[in-house]
């Protein structure tokens, strides 16, 4: 991997400083980007410039809505209600402390605990390669469901749900062809 395009919406809450370790520890450049076509193009340009200079840093392209430190009020609300928790990530598995869950004070509202065992897990449909798509190991077009059994109006796998899913984006911007 050569660089990261970082999520502008998340950064509006947590601030770009949260990503500094990626450049410092892993020598990877990152750019916080917005969601317009021009945002993405600009982020790619900034990444390429850093790669060319051999100087990985974390830069912010989405300064109209985010800064280094984030939204103090939003962060305070998150801290009041949530606590870090192990979380399962599609394609990656369980990563310790990588998610948020309601903390003890709000446990009475935690549907995950209240309904524990009552909500059956929903496995990916046979043939779905969402996990591989998300980690960039395979292209959506390599999936036998893509564009046939799995489309944005009738998704079979998670990546086809909502315009933000990797497969949905491939479908909508690639002309829908399998």
């Amino acid at each position: 991997m050569d660089g990261l395009i970082l999520p502008g919406n998340v950064t509006a809450v947590i601030g770009a400083d949260a990503y500094r370790f990626i450049a410092a520890r892993h020598r990877l450049p990152g750019v916080v980007a917005g969601f317009e076509t021009s945002d993405i193009l600009r982020a790619v340009l900034m990444l390429l410039e850093m790669i060319a200079d051999g100087e990985p840093r974390i830069l912010n392209e989405y300064t109209r809505f985010s800064d280094d430190r984030g939204n103090a009020a939003a962060l305070a609300a998150v801290r009041e209600v949530f606590a870090p928790r192990d979380s399962v990530w599609r394609g990656l598995g369980t990563v310790p402390g990588s998610g948020l869950g309601l903390n003890e004070a709000y446990a009475a509202f935690d549907a995950g605990t209240l309904l524990d065992g009552e909500v059956p897990p929903v496995p990916d449909p046979p043939g779905c390669i969402c996990g591989d798509v998300i980690v960039g190991a395979r292209e959506p077009e390599e999936c036998t469901l893509f564009g046939g059994r799995c489309t944005p109006s009738r998704p079979a796998g998670a990546c086809m749900v909502s315009g933000e899913g990797a497969c949905a984006a491939h479908y909508l911007y690639g002309g829908g062809a399998a």
Partner: protein
């Protein structure tokens, strides 16, 4: 009511087989959103229950002959929240929405009914305000409210006020408008800036605090449609892009007409306030409702004249926004695509529901 050819064929929307809603036991909010799930509910419950050749067209208004006259007839319920919003209120909406469903069938609205479901405790002053709005909107649209009904339910059994209006009108001679009329080569025209109603409701209801906030465009489109009478024979299809916005209206026309369309994103008029609201919230202005706009599919040769007529009738921002590119291709692929200023293209499918519920 919504039109969609795929419903008439009895298959799923976008030509895909099978309805996911078929096995669902309870009504969900999205089934009232004007998207795919609404269409399935209409097909599986209402058409299955009392379908007939007029209802099955699923046009904005039914068209039939009564003692020789060509009549358009329609009905709509209004549950908008909040009842009063920037640019209008439930009263103005309940008149405009119904007369606009007549107008886009090529009819001149003649008379309207109004039925009220009122929650016990609702302030009479508020009711009077709504009624004044209805009177003013009716005058603007050139109709009278000639019959009605009032029901009061116990506190908690309705949310303030719901209004149902029906409307009847005579079809303008020479007009032959249906969702299924679009042909390859036709121009796609919109009568003004899109997305204002949806954005205004969202900003007001969720107290988002956008200032200056978007104002609803709620208004009768009768003046615009009347002005098109001289070019009636060049008009192929019309819709008022309410729930589902421009994207919904274009998909419905494309599906019913079995054609594909390309929209030029830069050509679609969008107000600065709506654009800002959408950019921050990640919404697509093409999917936000309008309540005072009309989408016109017409012979491209007449598009210049149509633009002049629409602009002269009050549609100052009217624009040609796209074209009908050809017959529909692969039935599994959504028929409407959008081309950006950079030349990239994306598909614009019907959504399951609506991004902003209870807008009308």
């Amino acid at each position: 009511m919504r039109c969609s050819l795929s419903l008439r064929r009895g298959g799923g929307v976008n030509g895909e087989p099978g309805g996911r809603g078929a096995g669902i036991e309870r009504v969900t909010l999205d089934m009232g959103g004007g998207g795919r799930l609404s269409a399935e509910l209409v097909r599986d419950v209402f058409l299955a229950g009392y379908g007939n050749e007029l209802l099955e067209r699923l046009d904005d208004a039914a068209e039939f002959r009564l003692d020789g006259a060509r009549i358009a007839f329609t009905t709509d319920s209004y549950t908008v929240k909040p009842l009063f919003f920037p640019g209008g209120d439930i009263g103005r909406l309940s008149v405009c929405g119904t007369v606009n469903d007549l107008s886009v069938k090529g009819a001149r609205p003649h008379a309207v009914s109004a039925a009220f479901v009122i929650e016990e405790g609702f302030p009479v002053d508020g009711l009077k305000r709504v009624v004044r709005s209805m009177r003013d909107a009716a005058a603007e649209a050139g109709v009278r409210i000639v019959t009605g009904d009032t029901k009061v339910v116990r506190r908690g059994e309705a949310d303030g006020l719901f209004i149902t209006t029906s409307g009847v009108g005579g079809i303008i001679p020479g007009m032959d408008i249906s969702c299924a009329g679009a042909r390859p080569g036709d121009a796609v025209i919109v009568s003004g800036a899109v997305g204002r109603h949806g954005a205004a409701i969202l900003n007001a209801r969720e107290r988002l605090g956008f200032e200056p906030g978007p104002e609803s465009d709620v208004a009768p489109v009768r003046g615009i449609v009347d002005a098109l009478a001289p070019v009636a024979r060049s008009l192929r299809a019309m819709r008022d892009p309410t729930r589902g916005g421009l994207a919904g209206a274009l998909n419905e026309i494309a599906l019913a007409s079995r054609v594909a369309m390309r929209i030029f994103e830069d050509g679609v008029p969008v107000d600065a306030a709506v654009r800002a609201c959408c950019a921050i919230l990640g919404l697509d202005p093409l999917r936000l409702a309008c309540e005072g706009r009309v989408v016109i599919i017409a012979d491209a040769a007449a598009s210049g004249e149509i633009l002049l007529l629409v602009r002269a009738a009050g549609g100052a921002d009217a624009a040609v926004i796209g074209e009908v590119t050809g017959p529909r291709g692969d039935p599994g692929v959504p028929p409407v695509s959008v081309e950006s200023a950079m030349g990239t293209a994306r598909l614009l499918p019907l959504l399951d529901g609506d991004p902003v519920p209870r807008i009308c």
